[in-house]
Every structure is written in C-alpha cells, then in structure tokens.
Amino acid sequence: MAADYSLAVELRGVVKRYGEILAVDGIDLNIKPGEIFGLLGPNGSGKSTTMKMLLGLVTPDSGSVNVLGINVEENPVKVKQLLGYVPESARLYEFLTGIEYLDFVGDVYGMSTEDKKSRIDEYLKALQLEGRERDIISSYSEGMKQKIALISAFLHRPKLLILDEPLSGLDPRSARIVKDFLHELKAQGVTTIMSTHVLEIAEALCDRIGIMYHGKLLALGTMTELRQMAKLPSSGLEDIFLKLTGTGDVRAIVEELLK
C-alpha cells in the first residue's frame, strides 16, 4: 500500500484533447491528505475528464497524474483499490438487488466476508434502505440508487473519494448524514474531491475550491482567497463563481424570459 505520500493528488501540466476539443488544458493541482476539495465549473469545463484521469480511466496526452503517491498511468489497478468513486447519475446493475450489488462491490475490492457484512448492514441502516435491500435495483427511486452508489464508494474504506454530484437526489436526512460522514472521514485522513453545481454545498463542505473553465483551472483557494481573487469580499460562492467564469450577466436573460 502507498502509505508514504505527502500529497493525495498531484497533477503536473496535464493536457487532454478529444479531437479538436481541448478538454483539459495544462492543469497543475496539489491536494493534501484529509482535504475536502470542491471542483466546480460550468458544463463541459473539464471537471469530469479531470476526475476520470485521477481514476486512470482517461490517459492524459501529456503531464503526470499521481494519486496517493502512485503514478496512475503506471499502476491504475493499485490506485483504484484505494479510491471510492461515484459518477454523476451513476448507473447500477439494475438486475441485482441492492444487497447483491454491494456484495459484488465488496468482493471486487477484496473485502473479508465479516467486514463486508457488518459494513453493508451499517450503511443500509444509516441511509434507511433496510427492508428494500432485497428488491431488484430497477424498482428503486433515483435517490435510493444514489444511496447504493454512495455506499459502494464508502464500503472498502478508501483513502480518496471522488464524488461527482454526490448529494443529487438524496433526501435531506441522508444528505446531512453524507455531509457529516465526509467530515468524519476527513478527520481520519480521507481525502475527498467532489464536484457539484449546488454551490451552497461546496461552500459549506469544502476546505478548498477549484473553479475550472474551458479546461483551465481558473481559480483555486479557500473561500476567503476566492473572495479576494474576485474582489467580492462579502459575497457567497455563487457570485464569485459567476464573476470568475464571466457568466454573471444573467439579469438580462431573466428579464427576457419574463416578457
């Protein structure tokens, strides 16, 4: 296991192109162990591609990606063993039951039988899925599917969590549990990288925030640092985001819609 690392994530000059489209344009990024990092940006700004590169699912055209001290390109399986991932709108195996799915995930990560059982039981209880865990997933609501996807990311005690819109579809109680749980994991040294379009969540949860736009890391820092960058000392993340990404002029659009 890679126990000896000073940075949980280290991106150096990472570039990724899809044909003519420059999805990620020379990103440098360091994320410390135990940090909750928010990766924000408009649709198509390169967030998902960056996250996939951390997982070894997309190979960068140039630059290097190190996760938990391991070069992702050289050893993707070892990296995946240490990660927990929830993609945006996670599609699950709908022909399995909830418990079968979690059992499958536990086996894939090589968890012991006892550990798997106790942890699955705990999570099902905490996220109020008890009683439905033996129904096939195709009959679950979107929120229930999201809970299963989250449990499958937490199950094997990962060192790094990569969560794309993790609270999407969750009821308030479950969302609160997940938020508190992420804080507890932070205390245990688990790093979280999350992407969300709900800026209030990012503001409340994240230690640092990176704003991506057109494949570049436009701004990076704590909320205080971002306020200074945007020269909006008392504003929330929404105003900062809109100003930095140049998409703030929404008033005219709203007035047009009201006509």
Partner: protein, 545 residues
C-alpha cells in the same frame, strides 16, 4: 382526436424504431433520403421479382390451365399471411423496445389522449422493415398481376394487406399492455420465485415466437401455411383474421353482398381491437410492475465455489454478477433460445434418417448449438455491462482478471448446453461411442476457441448504449465476429472434411484428424485470447462512458 398529435407521435415512435435497427444514438441524423431508400429499394426489388416470377409463370401457365385457381388462391390468402407475418414481426419489435421505455415515456406526461397515443403506436409499428416488406410484396404482386391480367384483384389484395398489417399492430398493442399487467400480477403472486418464473416464461415466450417466425420465413413452413390458409379460410369463415381474405374471395366470385359483409366485419374488427387497445392503455398503460424481492432473511455473504477453484474475489464476483445478468435480463436470454432452435430444427428436418446421414445430423446437433452460443455470448460479454460499465472501469480489476472472468463465463454455459444437446442427439440418432467421443472433443475445441474469438471481438466492438435498447455489440463487429467464427470453426473442423464427404474411413485417420484439429484450435484460441487481453487493456485505459 388531435390528428397533428398523432402525426407527431408517429414521427417520434418511427425514429425510435429506426434507432433500434442500428444507428448509434449520438450520431443519429435525420436523412429523408436514407429513410426512403429502404422503401424505394423494396419497391424496386419487388417490381423486379414480380416481373421475373410473372414472366416465368406466364410461360408455365400457357401449358397448364389448372394454375389459374392456384394464382387466385395466392391473392386470397395474402391478407391473412401478411396478418400473421406482421403479428410476429410487431411482437418482436415490441420485445426489442421493452428495454427502452425511457425513450418513449415523455409522451405520457404531455397533453396527449390515449386514443392518439394508441393510434400512433399502431401506425408507427408498421414503419421500417415491416412496411418495406409490405411494399416489396405489394409491388411484386401488382407487377405479377400485369402478366396474369388480374390488376384490380392485386390492388385490392395490396390494400387488404395494409389493413391486415394494421390489424396485427392493434393486436400487438393489446398483447403488449396485457403482458405488462400479467407479468406484474405474476411477480406479485409468486414472491421470491418471481425471478425464475420470469426466466422460464420469457424463455417460453421467445421460443414460441422464434419457432413461429422461422416457420413462417422458411420456405417449407411458408408453403405449408399458404396451403393451410388457402384450405382453411373457407372453413374458418367465423375467425376474424380471415375476413379480409374472404372479402377478396367473395368480390372476385361475384358474391357482392357476402363481400360487403366481410368488408364491414373486417373494419368493425379492427375498430374493436383499437377500442380495446385504447381501454387497456388507459387502464394499464402507466402500470409499473411491482419490485421483485429476490431473497429474505438475514444477509449472509458466502465464499462461493469459484473462490475454491482458484479465482480471485474480483473475478468470482464478476462471474456471479454475470450469471445473474444472464438469468434475469430478458435481452440476454436470447443466447439460450437460439441454441435450442438450432438443436430442434435439424432433429425435426431429419426425422427417421439413418447411417451416415444420422451421424452427420448428430454431429450438427452436438457441435453447433453450443459453439453458436459461445460465439454469441462472447460478443455480448463486455457490452452487456451497459452504462453500468463505469463500475468495472473504476474497480481494481486488471485486464487479465476481466478477460479471465468473462472467458470462463463464455465457455461455461455452452458446455452445459453441449451436454444437453449431446444427450438429445445420442438418444435420437444412436451414434457409435467413437462418434460421441469425437463429437465431444470437437465441440469442446469449438467452444473454447470460438469463445476466445468472440470475446476478443466483443471487447473491441463493445456497445454500451442502452437507449433505445441494449445492443451490446456494434453491428459491424457483430458481423465480423460471425465471419471470423465461421472461418475459425471451419479451420478447426477441416481435418474431418474427408469423413463428412465420405472419403475418409480409417480409424487411425480419425484420431489424426482429431489431433490436427486440436492443434489448430489451440493456436487460434491462444492468439485470440492474447488479442482479448490487449483489447481489454485498451478498453480499461480509454474508458469512455
């Protein structure tokens, strides 16, 4: 009834139908030219076939006056035949669409009435290959009639064919809604056994319709049906399906009142079907089958037999997951149906054969169902992951483990099927023990080799799109896979060609042929397994979701 709404819905449903036939959703572009090429091509081929048959018929008819009645019968049975054909075809289309409810669900929350929705669905069912085949038959029949001087009858028959197709579509609409409601009720009543009830009933449903489909499209089955319908139409006048044919018959024979009665009855019948379909759609159209609860009691994970066989936990987990996929997902059950049909067909065709033919048919039954299953299952194995493939991509599963787990699965089911079809072949054809051993040996070689070939192709051509239906393998790769499997299969069996042709006779030669066949199989299996590993590595590092 808002006819504009009906028109809009038909366009949506038709587009969905065209997507089902093979275009990638992300690359789909409307091309009127492309759409009409299908019908234009069918029209052109129909005219050519009609002219060819007409010219030949004209020559034969000049020598045989009895043919006039046969050609009249042919026109009379056309509507009934088209009705049967359309029914089977539209049912298959609905089965394909069953996994694609998301693509058409939007219609349910728009201000559209069930009358509009049902009518549009009935009409849209006809577009595509079904309409093209009706255009083909229609143009062939009208061209043919120019040679026999029965143009008016031919045009009437073509119009009746169109109405027959619409009748079939209405019946399919009714079956579709009832099937959803019925299966829901079954799941609810059978509790935990629902998953197996669904497996068995789906297999049976597929089997019946596939057998019917092959029977209709095969030459001998088609002829039997034409004869049967021709004789039976007069006797079974009270069955609504033959009323259109009887309308034609009555008008041609000058029985105007009878013809008019059957015509009115035909239209009343189709309206009644439409009305029932609307009622059922209104009642059960939005019905969601209840959830299937698979097990009860306390959850207790077990270490399965796969771990004891030396598979790593991720490999064993993948295999267990795939086993559940193939017994629970309707679109995957086809791999069980095709081998059964491949097994049944030669047994029926060769009833009572003995000697060399019996050994040859036994070899067909022993070798082909399982090998065909291996070549199908392999090509599906990666693509069946669908949009949930991110789970494989993001899990600590190496390319080696992925290929190993999938390959084991690809050969596992075919070996089971081989045992069953081999036993059936043995009981039916009583081959010698030597023939059984050679058959067993070659069947295993084919399964292991074609499994590796198709897995390699299936990884390369994996198609994870699930809307409008899970395709699992790209069409080009599916075709390529069939060709490669055919070539490799023939290469493996080639040492036995002298025996098939009746030239080889010696026992020593037989064992040499088996040995040579094994060497060929092992070389191909090793090459394609390595190719599969390479393809899997590429798949896992160029993961696109």
């Amino acid at each position: 009834m808002n006819w504009k709404n009906v028109g809009r819905l038909i366009r949506v449903d038709t587009k969905s139908g065209r997507l089902l036939r093979g275009r990638r959703l992300t690359r789909f572009r409307e091309s009127r030219l492309y759409t009409y090429v299908l019908y234009g091509g069918a029209l052109f081929i129909g005219i050519a076939v009609g002219a060819l048959v007409g010219a030949s018929y004209h020559t034969i008819a000049a020598m045989d006056t009895k043919l006039t009645q046969t050609e009249l019968n042919f026109f009379f049975v056309l509507p009934t035949l088209v009705l049967i054909y359309s029914l089977v075809f539209t049912i298959f289309q609905q089965i394909q669409r069953s996994g694609a409810k998301f693509s058409t669900q939007a219609a349910y929350w728009l201000p559209i009435t069930w009358e509009e929705h049902t009518l549009a669905s009935m009409v849209a069912n006809l577009f595509g290959l079904l309409l093209a085949s009706i255009v083909f038959i229609g143009s062939a029949v009208i061209t043919f009639s120019l040679f026999t001087g029965q143009v008016a009858l031919a045009i009437s028959a073509v119009l009746a064919m169109c109405v027959a197709a619409l009748t079939a579509s209405a019946i399919t609409e009714i079956i579709r809604v009832l099937q959803t409601r019925f299966t829901g009720a079954v799941y609810k009543s059978t509790g935990r056994a629902a998953i197996w009830v669904r497996f068995a009933t789906t297999l049976l449903f597929f089997l019946v319709f596939y057998v019917l489909y092959f029977y209709v499209v095969s030459g001998s089955g088609g002829t039997t049906i034409v004869q049967g319908v021709s004789f039976g139409q007069q006797v079974l006048w009270y069955v609504p399906f033959v009323w259109l044919g009887l309308t034609l018959y009555s008008f041609t024979k000058g029985l105007l009142l009878q013809g008019l009665a059957f015509l009115v009855l035909s239209f009343l019948f189709i309206y009644a079907l439409y009305y029932i379909a609307v009622l059922l759609n209104g009642r059960f159209g939005l019905y969601e089958p209840p959830a299937i609860t698979v097990s009860s009691g306390v959850y207790a994970p077990r270490k399965g037999v796969l771990s004891k066989l030396g598979f790593s936990p991720p490999e064993a987990a993948l295999m267990r997951k795939d086993l559940k996929a193939f017994t629970r997902r309707r679109e995957l059950m086809v791999i069980f149906i095709i081998p059964i049909i491949i097994c049944i067909a030669p047994i029926i065709e060769s009833h009572g054969v003995t000697g060399h033919s019996a050994v040859f048919t036994f070899a067909l039954v022993f070798l082909f169902p399982a090998s065909f299953m291996a070549s199908m299952a392999g090509s599906f194995m990666i693509g069946e992951e669908g949009q949930a493939v991110w789970r494989v991509y993001s899990s600590p599963i190496s390319a080696g483990s992925l290929v190993k787990a999938k390959y084991f699965f690809v050969v596992f089911f075919p070996i089971l099927i081989m045992a069953i079809t081999g036993a059936i072949g043995f009981i039916v054809f009583h081959p010698s023990l030597r023939a059984v051993f050679v058959g067993l040996f070659e069947s295993l070689l084919l399964i292991f080799t074609l499994g590796a070939v198709s897995l390699s192709d299936g990884i390369r051509g994996a198609d994870f799109n699930e809307v409008p239906r899970p395709r699992m393998v790209d069409q080009v790769w599916s075709l390529l896979n069939l060709i490669i499997c055919l070539v490799v299969g023939l290469a493996i069996l080639s040492p036995f060609f002298p025996y098939v042709l009746g030239v080889g006779r010696s026992i020593a030669g037989l064992y040499q042929a088996a040995l040579l066949s094994a060497v060929v199989a092992m070389i191909f299996a090793a090459i394609f397994y390595r190719l599969a590993l390479g393809n899997a590595k590429e798949l896992l590092t160029k993961a696109e979701m």
